[in-house]
């Protein structure tokens, strides 16, 4: 081997030329029996490898089967729990929405859930694909207010869903946060007081929660930007982003409701 080793580097550059190839090949010839020997030496491990390979095939099947079994059982359990809890989850949300509508709108006497219509995209069926839906509250047949089910993606979390109510002349009568993922203890404070729209004392209190400052606010009369941005909205301490997002969503909701009911677009928008 030690004598062959210097030959190999000398033979390899020569391998390109045909003439010296044959002697190099002959010189390599005696090494040939060595190679099968080496191969033979390598063969038993490869044969030995085949045994665990066959074993690993069985093991692979076992792995796949175990994972399949576990995921199947998990899926079945989740399907069961989902079916058990779904009506309850929906039911838990519906009274919340009805109560919220009653709280954020002026007093009405119509079955408000039936007035639901999609306003964005305008005229679409009010199903899951509809982005923004509107309710119309009437009393003695005359409209007294509107509510928009809307959302904003400008908060700290991915999405804030909210219900904005206004009177027939588009003054805010209430805002209800349907869902959000703002930071607990900080941005999550946007929900504080959102059930207190019929509580005049809470709205008038000097330390009222953030959301109640929008009571009675109108487009054009109130600047819906936070004070930091030059507006009139008092932001929640350390939660400017959430405060800005909700204020902006309320303004957008008022604009949209005005546009969809009176057909007037823009106008007094600041």
């Amino acid at each position: 081997m030690s004598t062959q080793d210097p030959q190999v580097p000398s033979g390899t550059p020569a391998a390109g030329a045909p003439a010296p190839e044959s002697p190099a090949g002959k010189a390599a010839e005696p090494a040939v029996p060595e190679r099968p020997a080496a191969n033979a030496a390598a063969a038993p491990p490869s044969a030995a490898e085949k045994v665990p390979e066959a074993g690993s095939a069985a093991e692979g099947i076992k792995m796949v089967a175990t994972v399949a079994l576990v995921t199947l059982l998990s899926g079945a359990l989740l399907g069961f729990v989902y079916r058990q809890t779904k009506p309850r989850i929906e039911a838990a949300k519906l009274p919340e929405k009805i109560a919220a509508l009653a709280n954020i709108l002026p007093e009405f006497d119509n079955p408000i859930l039936e007035t639901l219509r999609c306003v964005e995209p305008d005229g679409a069926p009010p199903d899951d694909k509809c982005l923004r839906r509107m309710y119309t509250a009437t009393r003695d047949g005359r409209p007294v207010g509107y509510a928009l089910e809307t959302f904003t993606t400008k908060g700290y979390g991915p999405r804030i869903d909210l219900l904005v109510g206004c009177s027939a002349d588009f003054a805010v009568t209430g805002v209800y946060i349907l869902g959000h993922q703002e930071t607990p203890g900080l941005g999550a404070k946007i929900v504080e007081g959102h059930r207190s729209w019929k509580d005049a004392a809470a709205i008038a209190a000097p330390d009222r929660p953030y959301i109640l400052q929008f009571a009675g606010r109108r487009l054009g009369e109130f600047d819906f930007r936070v004070r930091k941005d030059g507006g009139q909205v008092d932001a929640i301490t350390a939660s400017t982003i959430s405060s800005r997002a909700v204020a902006g969503a309320i303004e957008q909701a008022l604009l949209l409701m005005r546009e969809r009911t009176t057909g007037a677009s823009g106008g007094g928008a600041p």
């Binding site: 093991e59 076992k62 792995m63 175990t66 994972v67 576990v70 995921t71 998990s74 359990l77 989740l78 729990v81 989902y82 809890t85 309850r88 989850i89 838990a92 949300k93 919340e96 979390g157 869902g179 959000h180 993922q181 703002e182 607990p184 203890g185 900080l186 999550a188 929900v191 330390d207 301490t237 350390a238």
Partner: protein, 200 residues
């Protein structure tokens, strides 16, 4: 080790937060109020007990190379169950804890106990271990949540403690407050432990 010791080790000697220092993400994030702390603790305890029990039950049929994915599937299943049940029966708590419930899946305590205990021990012991660890986790969260809520919001379990004009130390409900309070708790824990050792 008898089952009482097995349970009690999670409370102090091997407390997942204060001794093993695992699961800091929910610890720092949801301890802004005592209520949230208890809710998170209870949810994590349920997941721990459930996953420990199931993982212990299937430990002999799980190929060792596939154990982590399988453990995660089991844990994720329990977490989703908790999430759905909370949404259905405790909508307020579910809203308040928000995204941190789904994030229990990646809580290191749960995979840690699956790997370190449930995959090597019997069903009964694993159940008790999960319960002890869960209660230890909940207690640590509760103490931290109380401290932060009292100092930062001036209330406990949402009930105001001081008049509205008493200033609140806002930093305690902010993320830095979480680190400060937890740091102090760990210091106190180590101090007590060393004193006890000196006495012995």
């Amino acid at each position: 080790m008898n089952q009482w010791q097995n349970f009690a080790k999670g409370l102090w000697r091997e407390n997942p937060i204060l001794r093993i220092l695992l699961g800091f993400c929910p610890t720092l994030a949801v301890t802004t109020s005592a209520t949230d702390a208890v809710g998170m603790g209870a949810a994590a305890t349920f997941v721990l007990v459930g996953s420990n029990t199931v993982i212990s039950a299937i430990r002999r049929i799980v190929p060792s190379q596939m154990r982590i994915p399988i453990f995660i599937v089991v844990i994720a299943t329990f977490v989703t169950v908790v999430d759905l049940v909370l949404q259905a029966y405790f909508p307020a708590l579910s809203k308040s804890l928000g995204v941190f419930i789904p994030l229990i899946v990646v809580n290191c305590i749960i995979l840690g106990r699956a790997e370190a205990f449930a995959s090597k021990n019997g069903i009964g012991s694993s159940l008790i271990d999960g319960l002890g660890m869960g209660v230890g986790f909940t207690l640590a969260l509760l103490v931290l949540g109380c401290v932060r809520e009292i100092l930062g919001s001036g209330s406990i379990f949402g009930v105001p403690l001081f008049a509205a004009d008493v200033p609140r130390v806002l930093i305690f409900v902010l993320p830095p407050g979480a680190f400060l309070s937890l740091g102090c708790m760990l210091w106190l824990m180590n101090e007590l432990d060393q004193r006890r050792k000196r006495h012995v």
